[in-house]
């Protein structure tokens, strides 16, 4: 196990959306702050920093995690996926993003990156999730704007796609 000095900055490297990235982090630096401030990838949002709102949700090694409850140094050497990596390779919105737009599943868009990542995670593991499974995932997020109806409609639509 790598030894870290609490007062020093350490070189951290991981794969972000398929690209190798690196930067410097004190051991206490949150992964959200590393992504946003060190790498300048501001798509991942911070709403509470106590694990409840879900705005900061990203995927690490194929699992959804709360970026605000994760240290940057823990991500060293791993595979990190964020909202910036969702669009199709040609830059077009992917099916989930398109469904969000169609169903007006976002207003301010602040909760949206987290929801997209949690649902991406759900669809990656369960291509045809049940209503209860969708509810379970969306229920792990707070959205202040939409009343969740559009989010549910978008998720249902993607779940029903062949």
């Amino acid at each position: 196990m790598r030894e870290l000095n609490g007062a020093a900055r350490h070189r951290i490297g991981f794969t972000l959306n398929g690209r190798a990235v690196s930067g410097w982090a004190e051991p206490r630096l949150l992964l959200t702050d590393f992504l946003r401030q060190e790498l300048g990838e501001t798509g991942t949002h911070v709403g509470c920093e106590h694990g409840i709102c879900g705005a900061c949700t990203i995927r690490i090694d194929g699992r959804a995690v709360r970026g605000c409850l994760y240290l940057a140094v823990q991500a060293d050497g791993r595979e990190v996926q964020t909202v910036e990596g969702l669009a199709d390779p040609d830059g077009a919105l992917n099916a989930l993003q398109r469904a969000f737009r169609k169903h007006h599943a976002l207003q301010c868009g602040y909760c949206t990156p987290g929801l997209l990542m949690s649902l991406t995670d759900l669809f990656a593991r369960t291509p045809r999730p049940s209503e209860a499974q969708i509810l379970d995932v969306v229920g792990g997020h707070l959205c202040r704007c939409t009343g969740y109806a559009g989010i549910m409609a978008a998720a249902r639509e993607v779940a029903a796609e062949p």
């Binding site: 004190e26 969000f100 301010c108 602040y110 909760c111 969740y148």
Partner: protein
């Protein structure tokens, strides 16, 4: 289109004359509403879904920027004896510590709407008055270090007795929150309209109840952000903040900083992570960071965290209302009497006490009640200062008024719907002048209720209730009828002053909206305006409006609503609040685009040798109405104004940039008799629902919810539906979950999302949404404000349903299992 549950086609009423008819003669080129009224998908989504939004905390800052953290008071009321910053300052990376002494020396206290010595600075000066009040600011190389330094600050306090409960704080012997004011009851105003005393004396019955509307906040998921820099050379500040307006607070900030307004350049980013009124309350922090930046000689950035936000950002005021109706035996209400005591917390921040007066002209709601008495009282307490929260005084009013309607029905043994119907303003009465002065623009309330209850919807609710009750389950039906105001009159707050004081202060009225539409030399169109969108989709709607005017496609219109007070149009009413976008900013944009169109029509008429009136704008061309081949490209006509100004028609200004201002004449100052038209547009919302209460857990389950809206003409039904769904979820939060809780010493008990319960998808069913359209005659687009209705209606509707289910008279908000359990136990106790 995703109006899955819109069961009724829009009903249109063309009784009213559109506003444009009253304006000076215009060029009447043909305009097709191709895009306005369509459920157009949002352009904003294209960046937000890719994680490429431009929120305040995303924007690059100067490498010289330092980061701020705030030390906050642990006491609800205490003197600050001393602040020792030595240890904090000796920490490497710490640059400065700012305290109340600095702030007192360098700034003036914020202006207050009341002439009362309720001084507030951006940091506590000498005394703290609520838990969470900012006491000191640390500046450091990064935020982590700044927070380390907070732990090293040592402050000694001398605790003082606290005033927490509004009614107790209003008593004469209560501890004083502001000694200089000599009382906590800082304003009492009595109003009378018609002959309330006569009506009460003549009434068959007098029915009264007291409601308490609790403190909460529709807090956005994005917290406050401020980046401030001082430019020594100009003696001016440049501040970026996710502020939402109203810009009537810009002079308040500039005055506090002791500079003319032009030396406080305030920029807002293109995207804001929600606001719902809350981000007005960032303004004291704008002043604080501005002063800190000046002291440090470097830009200062502060990002609020969720704990700070819950603890101290903003709350709606708590209101205790005693409402009484003079009633005839048949259910007709002849008079209302309100006694309202509103708690604004420790300070009266501008533009408080807005919530107490914003609905003043419309206190009789959807009912034709000619006699009205109102006593409005303002109390200060040792709790966080209150501010804007979506609904803004409406939820407080309607919780009292619609609960009263239900009580009238119970006490007279009438159907609540009959009591509502009996008292509704009749359709023929519009425009209708309400007792206290509101001028309701249009509507047909009875028709709206007929549609909502029709198609078997009410029968279904009754069937469900009867079936549930037959099985011994606790099921109830609730209703709420609500008038939803849009675009506030800037003069409404002066109703707070006496007529004499108003005369001394000078008249206040109107609500100016400003917008600019620009066409560049190649015909590309861009728009800037005086609104600060927080998710409403303003870019999309404005593009629809301009596209129709100019015969272009919405995606050809570039709308960027990042705002800069130094460069963009704005006036005192600017901002996104009180539903002013649709009746205000959208109209200004419409007017500016219209002016451009008139200008282009005259240019094209020269080229085509036709009268401007014979031209149509379509498909990026300007063409003869009867001969589409006789046409000029839009871009070419636009180019003339830039490239060949000498060829322009006589008297025409060169270039193609039009700024339009809009202020409706209906928004007059309060009269001598305190009549005030508080808003410009008045939509109508009728809600009806069935709920079941679990006898064991006391949990409320919403079984079916129907919400009927008449917001005039809908500019974009998809976005209007989003506003309804969002406001409904917040209304459910108010009704069942959300409350700021303080203990008996004023400590704050709900400072995390684990304690303060924002509803998740599991708590928010999808309501059935219905629309009808009674266009407003007072706005050229016929549209009304539509963003707040369910915040007003839903808490009252759910409370009425729970009251019906449990047979109780006093369901208190939020109707948590704990509260309902106590009420059920009290109800079931045998009488002594």
């Amino acid at each position: 289109m995703c109006f899955g549950l819109v069961a009724t086609p829009p009903v249109r009423y063309n009784r009213t004359t559109p506003r444009e008819g009253r304006e000076p003669a215009r060029i009447m080129t043909e305009i097709a509403a191709r895009h306005v009224g369509q459920p157009t998908e949002r352009t904003e989504d294209l960046r937000l879904l890719r994680g490429r939004g431009q929120y305040a905390d995303d924007l690059a800052v100067s490498p010289r920027t330092v980061h701020a953290a705030i030390l906050r008071s642990p006491h609800a009321h205490a003197e600050i004896v001393s602040i020792d910053a030595k240890a904090a300052l000796s920490l490497p990376g710490v640059i400065a510590v700012v305290t109340g002494e600095d702030v007192q020396a360098l700034t003036d206290p914020f202006l207050v709407a009341l002439r009362q010595p309720l001084h507030q600075w951006s940091l506590a000066v000498g005394r703290v008055r609520y838990v969470g009040e900012p006491v000191a600011l640390v500046l450091a190389d990064d935020r982590y270090l700044a927070e380390d330094a907070l732990d090293l600050l040592s402050v000694s306090y001398r605790e003082l007795p606290v005033a927490l409960d509004p009614a107790e704080a209003a008593q004469e012997d209560a501890p004083l929150v502001h000694e200089a004011a000599g009382t906590n009851l800082v304003s009492v105003r009595d109003f009378s309209y018609g002959d309330p005393d006569g009506a009460f004396a003549a009434a068959d019955r007098r029915i009264a109840l007291t409601t308490r509307f609790p403190r909460h906040s529709y807090m956005p998921i994005e917290n406050f952000v401020v980046v401030a820099e001082y430019h020594e050379g100009d003696g001016a500040w440049d501040v970026l903040a996710n502020f939402q307006g109203p810009y009537s607070t810009h002079p308040v900030m500039a005055r506090a900083l002791r500079v003319p307004g032009a030396r406080l350049r305030l920029r807002t980013p293109r995207d804001s992570g929600g606001s719902f009124g809350i981000k007005l309350a960032v303004f004291p922090y704008i002043v604080l960071m501005a002063i800190a930046a000046r002291m440090a000689g470097r830009p200062v950035k502060w990002v609020e965290d969720r704990y700070e936000h819950l603890l101290a950002a903003n709350s709606c005021p708590e209101r205790v209302t005693t409402i009484e109706a003079a009633v005839r035996d048949d259910g007709t209400i002849t008079a209302l009497r309100f006694d309202q005591l509103e708690d604004y917390g420790a300070y009266l921040r501008a533009p408080m006490p807005g919530p107490l007066y914003r609905m003043h002209g419309a206190m009789t709601g959807a009912y034709d009640i000619p006699n009205l008495a109102i006593t409005s009282k303002i109390v200060v307490t040792n709790r966080m200062p209150a501010g804007l929260v979506r609904g803004f005084g409406g939820p407080q009013l309607y919780f009292a008024l619609e609960r009263l309607i239900q009580r009238v029905a119970v006490e007279l043994d009438l159907d609540p719907l009959d009591v509502i119907r009996k008292n509704l303003i009749p359709a023929h009465a519009f425009p209708y002048r309400a007792a206290a002065g509101a001028l309701y623009d249009s509507g047909d309330y009875a028709k709206a209720i007929e549609i909502a209850t029709g198609d078997g919807r009410l029968d279904d609710l009754i069937r469900r209730r009867d079936a549930a009750r037959a099985e011994g389950r606790l099921y109830g039906i609730g209703f709420a009828a609500v008038v939803e105001p849009g675009m506030s009159n800037m003069g409404y707050l002066s109703t707070l002053l006496t007529t004499e004081a108003r005369e001394r202060a000078g008249p206040k009225n109107g609500a100016i909206s400003l917008a600019t539409v620009n066409v560049d030399p190649l015909g590309a169109v861009s728009v800037s305006a005086d609104c600060m969108p927080q998710g409403q989709g303003h870019e999309t709607v404005l593009a629809q409006i301009v596209a129709d005017q100019l015969g272009l496609a919405p995606d050809e219109i570039a709308v960027n609503l990042a705002h800069d007070t130094g460069k963009d149009p704005w006036s005192i009413a600017a901002g996104t609040y009180s539903c002013r976008f649709t009746p205000g900013t959208a109209v200004a944009v419409h007017k500016a685009a219209r002016q451009l169109r008139d200008k282009l029509a005259r240019i094209a008429s020269n080229t085509l040798n036709l009268r401007p009136d014979d031209l149509v704008f379509t498909g990026a061309r300007i063409q003869a109405r009867d001969n589409p081949d006789n046409a000029v490209a839009f871009a070419r006509a636009a180019g003339v104004a830039h490239w060949a100004p000498a060829t322009l028609p006589d008297g025409m200004a060169p270039g193609l940039r039009e700024t339009a201002a809009w202020t409706p004449p209906e928004l007059a100052a309060p009269t001598e008799g305190d009549h005030i038209n508080t808003s410009l547009t008045y939509g109508f919302v009728f809600d009806m629902c069935g709920v079941e209460v679990d006898p064991i857990t006391a949990q409320v389950r919403i079984d079916r919810y129907v919400t009927m809206h008449d917001s005039g003409k809908l500019l974009n039904p998809l976005l209007a539906e989003g506003q309804v769904l969002g406001a409904f979820a917040q209304g459910v939060g108010t009704a069942l979950h959300e409350e700021f809780v303080y203990d008996s010493e004023g400590s704050f008990l709900t400072a995390t999302f684990a304690d303060y319960l924002v509803p998740t998808v599991n708590e928010v069913p999808r309501p059935e949404i219905l629309h009808m359209e009674s266009p407003s005659p007072f706005t050229p687009l016929g549209a009304k404000g539509a963003g707040e209705g369910n915040c007003l209606a839903t808490p009252a509707c759910l409370a009425n349903a729970v009251a019906d289910a449990l047979g109780i008279a006093d369901p208190q908000l939020p109707m948590t299992p704990k509260r309902l359990h106590a009420l059920m136990a009290a109800r079931d106790e045998p009488a002594p």
